[in-house]
Symmetry: C2
Subunit: 367 residues, 2 copies
């Protein structure tokens, strides 16, 4: 039924075809006919793109403004990559934010959760974050996972509308099926007393280098995210390793948020924040330069585990289709280690490497 | 004779007309017919745009590569704004880098230098930097000037070709006419001994928060600039006051150069550089936020002195014609103080003020 749309969407350049095993699918690279970017169309199933969540950069004014009248839930926001997990023709598939059917996540999903829920509710979509040191997308430390990867579910949506279940119904299902989920910090009200509790939780998350929280109001569906300064700091340190392959606004935004969080929490005057910010840049740039001297390039090594070796091949093909990843992926190793196939690959950051190599060679630069 | 070109240039959108007193002139906003951007055409005189000087970001490799065979001069690079000073119809006019006849610089030029040289050599163009706490363009401290402004000449060019005089001839003229000039550190060769001397000078400039140096080879005309880490740091602190009105690349570039300079000088492992970099951002962002709370906007106050009050009016008109300055200049005061007319005006940084005000109000942001 959706196949009929394919040609029209492709002609309008709002979507791109993909293939995963026997499935041909179309993912929306731009909103189309009411479907948001990231929507996945299979032959007879449409999984809507995950809606963007706005950010507040000032905690109390943000909560007062966004959740003026009602109470709201606060859940942990985990720093990983977003997956929509759904049942299709007897299999569980995982779509990333961009609407790719991810060969890695799909390969490993049965290690991360039980699929029982889909036996009883085949039209549900579980929305979660995958994180861990052996994930193939997100760089940097993952304070919640020591090895390999883990899944943290934060939403359950119902097909065909992709309407989110209310918090309590979601919690019930997560509990009943023993599904791994993000931490829920409870229900809060728009009042000073609760703001203080929220701040205390955020400060703890901050000191544990965890990313932050998402606030969710019901039944309005209003949502807002808010992240910790140490999460911004971590992003800055990690992304400085590829400083010229990243939009420079990425850094400016995070520096501003860093300061605003510290002000929000009343800890800006404590010692050490300036040094930490400077260190995030300086240490990473020094690392980049040292790595460049030794290796002649700027890159980072990734390692992840697969169950089915063919999925690893699908995955490499997939990476090469991600915008700006083309030609910058180099497979370094692929071998069996006990029950897993280990894929090691390198992502090359061409602008960072090329520019710095050029500078270090003594080239003239006109800016 | 150049007037005939005006219409053609205007039609091709490579230039813009300007007016200063009785003079109508055309300034090139893009290169045109062999003339570089910033060229000023008066009715019967053309003053070529000042050529861009490339930057080296690694000192010794840069010197080795750029000045491979010959000796080269090293002069101080002063952090101010570039002026070309020339004689036209009995008056001395000053053009800025962009090719504006600057009402401020022209008004004050006779305070900054003697015009005798133009009596003897009316077709010379003096190229210099104007800096000081009361200059209307450049923000931030000026380590070389305590009050008002000063001029530092670094080149003398000959019309009509705008060919630079050789260093010795330039030095002679500067000396003979008692003209203020940048510091000349002497002639160096491409050898380790000289690199060490150069480093020592640069380290001293760095510790005095001075901008850096320009290397000039003769007769090839090759040039290269190199700036100190503390100059980058100063730029970062100053420009963070208008962080969202500035290309974010401005900051990324300076952070990279900051680290590269410290490595070049062998002082990266000394203490405090991380903290200083972090402080440059954090302190400025805190200042912006405090200023915003008190004043409801982000802006900076400028003050400069004029001899002729009409030039101040011309100057305000001029500022409003500078790209991205339109509507963001507010005159705050204009009064006579002894022999000067004092102009006080405010430059408003609209993106910084508007964005941060919006964030602080608790607005949702989708990034």
């Amino acid at each position: 039924m959706y196949e009929e749309l394919f040609e029209e969407i492709l002609r309008s350049k709002k979507g791109v075809l993909g293939k995963f095993w026997e499935h041909t699918y179309l993912r929306l690279t731009h909103a189309y006919g009411g479907w948001p970017e990231g929507t996945v169309f299979l032959k007879d199933l449409a999984v809507s793109g995950f809606p963007k969540i706005g950010r507040i950069n000032a905690l109390v004014p943000g909560l007062k403004k966004q959740f003026a009248s009602c109470s709201f839930w606060m859940e942990e926001k985990v720093d990983g990559y977003n997956v929509r997990i759904f049942h299709y023709q007897g299999k569980i598939l995982c779509a990333t934010r961009g609407g790719f059917i991810c060969p890695f996540s799909t390969d490993r999903i049965m290690d991360l959760m039980s699929a029982d829920i889909f036996n009883d509710y085949p039209t549900l979509v579980l929305c979660g974050e995958i994180t861990g040191p052996e994930n193939p997308y997100i760089e940097g430390p993952s304070p919640l996972v020591d090895e390999d990867i883990k899944l943290f579910i934060f939403d359950i949506a119902k097909l065909p509308t992709f309407e989110f279940l209310p918090q309590q119904q979601k919690q019930e299902l997560l509990y009943r099926y023993g599904l791994p989920s993000v931490k829920n910090f409870g229900l809060f009200e728009n009042r000073q007393e609760d703001f203080e509790k929220i701040k205390k939780i955020l400060l703890n998350l901050h000191y544990e280098y965890r990313e932050g929280v998402v606030f969710k109001e019901e039944p309005s569906g209003r949502r807002a995210k808010y992240v910790t300064a140490n999460s911004d700091l971590n992003d800055i340190a990690v992304f400085s390793r590829k400083i010229m392959d990243i939009s420079p606004n990425y850094f400016i935004d995070r520096m501003l948020r860093y300061v605003l969080f510290l002000i929000d929490m009343g800890i800006i005057e404590e010692n050490g924040w300036e040094e930490k910010l400077g260190k995030a840049f300086v240490s990473s740039i020094k690392e980049v330069l040292n790595y460049l001297k030794e290796n002649g390039k700027s890159s980072r090594l990734f390692r992840c585990r697969f169950r089915n070796p063919q999925n690893a091949q699908h995955f490499i093909d997939h990476l090469k289709h991600i915008p700006r990843h083309e030609e910058h992926i180099v497979v370094k190793g692929f071998f069996k280690d006990k029950e897993y196939w280990i894929l090691e690959f390198e992502k090359i950051y061409p602008s960072t490497g090329d520019s710095l190599r050029n500078w270090l060679s003594g080239a003239l630069r006109f800016d």
